[in-house]
């Protein structure tokens, strides 16, 4: 269910159409060209698509669904982890965690299966990076690493002099998925059981290495994607040490197109805004984190939230 939180935004109501989507998505067909286990409960899915009128930007998502069945009916929002355009078509890659009926069936897909794809959608991380950005630190938890892979590749185009560091955490080594994602330079790994890299949470790794990470001063920007408690903990650090934080929320959606009003979250004025269009990437300063942690809606959203 939708990640529920409280955002500060100028939009009065989510159904105010004076706020248009940043990019117009298109609908197409994607053929499964690669599917492989990428870690415990996580798989890598790669689709071949016809040429698209526009390339996705890191942080944007695709709605992916089945053409051959009405059960499951709805498309699933998947963060785009890789994108390559050729002369006749393109390839898009996703890191998918098995969460329910739709993702379970996706995991059982065979090569050659044709899926419905609507993309690119939502706000991206790139809009938060200026040309003079010297350092970008990405903090990822679990499948939250997906948009950071694309970010690592695209960041050089936006800010050639920026260096990109990725802090990537999972509960165990088995849940890390770097083998399929071609992650190498600037990668710092944390596992909660210490089976690889730093022993502890990725936020603890960040805190331990903070002085080193933020050496470039306040111009370092931190981007994060992962479970809500991780984002909450990171925001605490951002407030304490005054660095810029941009977060991407995970959350189920009905249509992803701004039509169903199913993925709404509350803003600072107590109004509902659409996560699919205002998010999933947002400035942490726009989120009312304290209200967020008191919300009953968190329980509904499936989070057993215990602030550290």
């Amino acid at each position: 269910m939708p990640t529920s939180c409280f955002f500060r935004t100028s939009t009065a109501l989510s159904s105010d159409v004076s706020v248009r989507p940043v990019s117009s998505p298109c609908q197409t067909e994607g053929e499964v060209v690669a599917i492989a286990q990428a870690g415990a409960g996580v798989f890598w899915l790669e689709l071949a698509l016809p040429l698209l009128p526009m390339s996705p930007m890191a942080g944007q998502f695709a709605m992916v669904g089945f053409k051959d069945t009405q059960d499951p009916l709805l498309n699933r929002p998947l963060s785009i982890a890789s994108f390559e355009a050729g002369s006749t078509g393109c390839r898009v890659g996703f890191l998918v965690a098995i969460r329910g009926k739709g993702t379970k069936r996706l995991a059982e897909a065979r090569q050659g299966l044709k899926l419905r794809v609507i993309m690119p959608m939502g706000q991206s991380f790139l809009r938060y990076i200026g040309p003079g950005q010297r350092r970008v630190i990405a903090v990822a938890g679990g499948v939250g690493v997906a948009p950071m892979v694309l970010l690592g590749r695209q960041i050089k185009e936006v800010s050639p002099e920026a260096d990109f560091l990725l802090l990537y955490g999972a509960r165990t080594k088995a849940e890390l998925t770097k083998r399929h994602l071609g992650l190498a330079d600037g990668l710092y790994v944390a596992t909660e059981d210490g089976s690889e890299g730093f022993k502890g949470r990725v936020t603890e790794l960040f805190e331990a290495e903070r002085t080193l990470l933020l050496e470039a001063g306040r111009s370092a920007k931190v981007f994060a994607c992962g479970p809500l408690p991780m984002l909450y903990a990171l925001n605490k650090l951002a407030e304490r040490h005054r660095f810029g934080l941009v977060v991407s929320f995970e959350g189920p959606m009905g249509c992803g197109m701004g039509l169903c009003l199913g993925c709404v979250v509350e803003n600072w004025e107590g109004m509902y805004v659409k996560l699919c269009q205002k998010g999933p990437v947002m400035d942490a300063k726009d989120v009312d984190w304290e209200r967020l942690t008191r919300s009953d809606e968190l329980r509904c959203a499936g989070y057993d939230f215990k602030p550290a």
Binding site: Q27, L259, E297
Partner: protein, 303 residues
Amino acid sequence: MTSNRLEVPFLGKTIKNPIAAASGCYGYGLEQPELLPPEAFGVITLKGLSASPKRGNPPPRIAETPCGMLNSIGLENVGIEAFAKNTWPHLRGLGVPIIANFFGDDETEFQKAAQMLSDLEGLFAMELNLSCPNKPQWGSILASDPKVASRLVRSIKPLCRYPLIVKLSPNVASISEVAKACEDSGADALSLINTLLGMAIDVDAKSSKLGTRFGGLSGPSIYPIALRMVSEVSRSVRLPIVGMGGVSSPEDAIGMMLAGASLVGVGTLLLVNPFGVEEIKQGMLAYLDRHGLEKLTGLQGRL
């Protein structure tokens, strides 16, 4: 669409194709101008509007069910005033007939909404939503009691500058009786069905999967029920019908027309497969070819 083979008459107007965007699944018509252009539809029914803005229900608002989905959006909307100021000027010029769906928490609010919409220039029709999720008890009486429905339609109709379509709820003992009551009270057309009241439980959390206890079921799973109700109502009244409920293929749409619908509404389909509108129109043309028919007019039956 260059051909006029899909043209159908509805409320004194020639509609270029029988596909109607159902209320609540196509926003205010401007959300996805490229992915799902307004021009694809014969008519567009806007998301339900009320005299004052409505916040809607707390999330989670959507739960997937087998071949369908439950929603408890709660008629969130910006209110007619904001709509008239910010959205209507952009919608008007599109050349697609626009139907404004409206509701109220009581009779006075319904009247006020009807008046405010009548002040707009260039609407095609108004669709009265005969159920109210904000006041569920009143909503359920309104939807199911022919006398109450009749009284409301009688009090609204004189305020409407545009043809009045009444949208019927399937959560009633006899939809035909409510349909007849609306016809006798001056409705110009009927649309059916709205969503079926349903529930989904998260057994691990031991709670509703929605932020509210119940929600409205839509999608392919309700199509046979919708078809039966359209068929039933088409034999009970003379009013034109916008048939909807789970339509997701050309066959579904043609079936709706054979059951008695003049126009066919698509809702949940738009959320899942925006290409579906074009697929239905192409499938209808193929059907006409297969059956040696020149035009869609005349296909409408009363099966």
